[in-house]
């Protein structure tokens, strides 16, 4: 048992913290608004080799394990960086695990951070159900025709390649029959509506209106993608929870500073016990969240059931704590915590959006019960 970071991860953490601390400026965030990311920061991250930490050695990277993800995403969250590294992880690892030789070229670029990716899986009616896929892929000649709509696809308009899920057989909620396809940017027949997200970054609604694809667009075995999707989502859940943890640490630090400097009734408001206890509660819960993230990251390579128990336990707990931290940080700040100009705002918004992706606290509580009963 050991809770220390390895030397390599410690170096990665230190380097990232230093770099992002300087790079994520109000100007950089402003610049990121039109496309959902700052090209300078993306380039900076790529130069540091951050993308490589998301892939295993076999895939050409130098990490890929749960604790590599924890280090990277905690720092992205701490700085409030909006660059779509999570999408690179989600889609990139799917291509790395399922792709044929030609498709692996994308992985080689992804490891360098030289490409933008997205994973188009969610649909208007799927909410958090991973197996609910209505988009259809029909064979046509040698290739495929895709029809359907994909919703809130993060980085969808900016991605050079999009991994799209579609049903090749079975009923809308069957686990079997889901296939993945790799679509290059600019594929004919795709209609994209790009929009900004509350937490920063961009997403897109993607309408596939009889999009024709060559046979080589199929990623992995036909109809067998569910297991890979679930695994990818487990990794992404670990990453987004680590991101939230980093954001919580910043919210806590900002709140702590504010409690020490803001004076009312003739003294720093941090001297009031009502606020001291709220701040202590916040800290206790953040430590709970940190342990939950450690639990998930430490079990990403475990057997499926063990891994998914931790996915739901962690997403439930971190979801609850994220809400608490966002709301309490604003409350302890008072009015200033609600303003756009003060730094807390973007972290509170980021934390309050955690529940909207990959399943919220209630969804995962129910899922945890079912997994435990199984």
């Amino acid at each position: 048992m050991n809770f220390q970071l390895t030397e390599e991860r410690q170096m990665l953490q230190d380097g990232l913290r230093r770099y992002l601390g300087e790079a994520v400026t109000p100007q950089a965030l402003e610049a990121a608004q039109t496309t959902g990311m700052s090209p300078d920061i993306w380039a900076g991250l790529s130069e540091m080799g951050v993308a490589g930490a998301l892939f295993t050695e076999d895939q050409g990277g130098f990490g890929g394990a749960g604790f590599d993800l924890m280090v990277v995403f905690e720092e992205l969250g701490r700085a409030g960086a909006v660059e779509p590294m999570l999408e690179l992880l989600l889609a990139g690892r799917l291509v790395a695990e399922l792709g044929d030789e030609t498709q692996q070229e994308i992985v080689a670029q992804a490891v360098e951070g030289a490409v933008q990716l997205a994973f188009a899986h969610g649909e208007p009616a799927s909410r958090f159900d991973l197996e609910r896929v209505e988009t259809r892929a029909e064979r046509s000649g040698d290739g495929w025709t895709l029809t359907g709509r994909k919703s809130v696809v993060v980085n969808g308009a900016q991605a050079d390649h999009i991994v799209v899920s579609a049903r090749t057989s079975g009923d809308v909620a069957d686990r079997d029959g889901i296939s993945l396809f790799l679509l290059p940017k600019g594929t004919a027949g795709i209609e994209i509506r790009d929009y900004p997200l509350s937490q920063g970054g961009h997403a897109a609604e993607i309408v596939l209106d009889g999009v024709t694809l060559p046979a080589g667009a199929l990623l992995g075995a036909e109809g067998q993608a569910f297991e890979a999707i679930e695994t990818a989502q487990a990794r992404a859940t670990a990453a987004i929870c680590a991101d939230a943890l980093g954001a919580m640490e910043t919210a806590r630090a900002l709140t702590g500073d504010y409690l020490k400097t803001r004076k009312q009734f003739g003294q720093p408001i941090g001297k009031f016990q009502a606020l001291q206890h709220r701040a202590a509660d916040m800290l206790i819960e953040i430590e709970q969240a940190r342990s939950a993230v450690i639990n998930l990251c430490g079990h990403l390579e475990a057997d499926r059931d063990t891994r998914e128990i931790h996915v739901s336990a962690t997403k439930h707990l971190v979801g609850k704590v994220a809400r608490l931290v966002a709301e309490e940080a604003i409350q302890m700040h008072g009015g200033i915590g609600m303003t756009e100009e003060y730094d807390l705002g973007r972290f509170a918004r980021r934390l309050s959006m955690l529940d909207q992706r990959f399943g919220d606290a209630t969804f995962h509580l129910g899922r945890f019960v079912r997994l435990r009963a199984a």
């Binding site: 001291q276 800290l283 969240a289 939950a292 450690i294 707990l317 945890f368 009963a373």
Partner: protein, 398 residues
Amino acid sequence: MDLSFTEEQKAFRAEVRRFLDEKLPKRLSDKGRLGQRLTKQDYEEWHAILNEKGWLAGNWPKEHGGAGWNAVERHIFEEETTAAHAPRIVPFGLAMLGPVLQKFGSKEQQDYWLPRILNGDDWWCQGYSEPGAGSDLASVKTTAERDGDHYVVNGQKTWTTLGQYANMIFCLVRTSKEGKPQEGISFLLVDMNDPGVTVRPIVLLDGEPEVNEVFFDNVRVPVENLVGEENKGWTYAKYLLTHERTNIAGVGFANAGLANLKRIARLEQSGGRPLIEDPLFAAKIAEVEISLMAMATTNLRVVSAAAAGQAPGAESSMLKVKGTVIRQEINALTKQAVGPWAMPFVSEALEAGSNEGPVGPSYAMSATPHYLNNRKLSIYGGSNEVQKTIIAKAILEL
């Protein structure tokens, strides 16, 4: 980062398990499983079995007759013994006074008192709280005035756990009224058989006289029973509290309590189905289980830092708050799970071998007493509010 135990630690766990299989009397584990009351003799019997193996004082160094375990080994021992429903080790001599004597006691005091703790010659209790000094421990008023070779002690202690079994009490007494309240406190060992000591039991909501009031009326205590220096007792008391808090998270108790709750929820019926299949009840169990999974890891993080030589700091305050809240929630859900069977209060049924059987299923009879008794968790050892104030000051620097 590595969440698995080392081969050595796994082997140690297997050894503890083997020992419990062979040596833990079934009579005692049955009582634990059913939540029946343990007698003084039960505790003494278990202490003697552990002492024979050299495992009674896990936290003491070997030179004093302890097992010399590090924090991880102690954690494993704690997990295994609670899972096996062994009686808890009574902490007053072993976990509290022992470390203080080893750190601050004279050679004579160590040579005399430490073996007696291990052999069960003395049953110690803790004379800290007073009617006017609860969370605000520094305001103790019990006085000890020097008179030749003796201190004359006058005053009152309260909430003295299992004081009815004790023959010795370690006390915080006021030897000076100068300076800050913390500066005039001394740490004194008092023989409860001495003239002038009176013990009055306090019956708690679970019907048990678990705690007592202890009165001191001109009790003459030999000066060699002063630990360390006069007026330096506050330092020793704080040192003792850090030891009191090493297992403050109570992960073992929480795990055992959760397993018991799930067992009951599978047996109890609601709407013709096992209660555990009621989605709302299942969600409540899941919520506390998820919280416990995270807290257990927080505990291991602290334990592993302690094993690497870092002193436990305000992190133990966080564990105290979270650990007690989780255990209290498990107690509350267990009471809820047994439904109307939580109401019958047949005190005799909690005594093993009593002719008076439980009303309803045997798993139900301890639900209410345990729920009520464990309200203490968030009050003792520095109330949870005091812990939050410590966190605010020590970690958040407010």
